[in-house]
Subunit: 132 residues, 2 copies
């Protein structure tokens, strides 16, 4: 029998799941992907493994709690690996998995879109707020 290819399975998945539907599990995944810090954490990891402290510096303003929490969720979802090196003090590295690398283009796109179109959004807001 013919085994389905990975591409075929992905096609199948796209038919099975539909985020427009209520109670579809992709709704929950969608809300994970749009979590506050995900669009910054994934791009921050794209150039290779990063330590917790490095990430905290790179992503200015993130609290330790939220960074850890975000990384845990990403780890559970198979997007990031967490590697502990037993030393004193302990060293922890985070790295994108292959699945995480597949998510990267989507996340960098959203980040870039915001940076690129900020001005036009500002203009629109000014006009909207100036309405009678």
């Amino acid at each position: 029998m013919a085994t389905s290819t990975a591409a075929q399975r992905r096609e199948q998945a796209k038919r099975d799941y539909d985020a427009f539907l209520d109670q579809c599990p992709t709704r929950e995944l969608l809300s994970r992907l749009t979590d506050k810090w995900v669009a910054l954490v994934i791009p921050a990891l794209v150039d290779g493994p990063q330590r917790h402290g490095q990430l905290a510096q790179r992503i200015a303003g993130v609290s330790q709690k939220m960074l850890t929490q975000t990384l845990r969720t990403l780890e559970r979802d198979g997007l990031v690996t967490r590697t502990v090196t037993a030393s004193v003090p302990v060293r922890v590295d985070y790295e994108l998995t292959p699945l995480g690398h597949e998510l990267f283009p989507v996340m960098i796109a959203i980040k870039n879109w915001a940076e690129t179109h900020m001005d036009r959004v500002f203009e629109a807001r000014t006009q909207y707020d100036a309405r009678p």
Copy 2:
């Protein structure tokens, strides 16, 4: 003097704004773009104007309040237009602006990613939860 092209201005904007920085206004825009219903509303509008009721049907499970609230924010940000036709009962149509159409590819990408990779995320979660 040479006027800068739109492409050049976009390049400039990408240099000026950096969502990795705290207090950068793109942080706020990023959080708007990742609001719960935006990744569903934008794709739902891509094929042309839609009435409030149509959208509510298409995006199963959204409350009227959240739909209106999301559309208002998108309108203020210049991504959607709101057109009222005075009749009885009144008719309201929402439509993507050119800026909204520019955002569409990003939003559909995230929606598609979730639908396409749901299975792999599920597997990862199962493995993670089964750990000692």
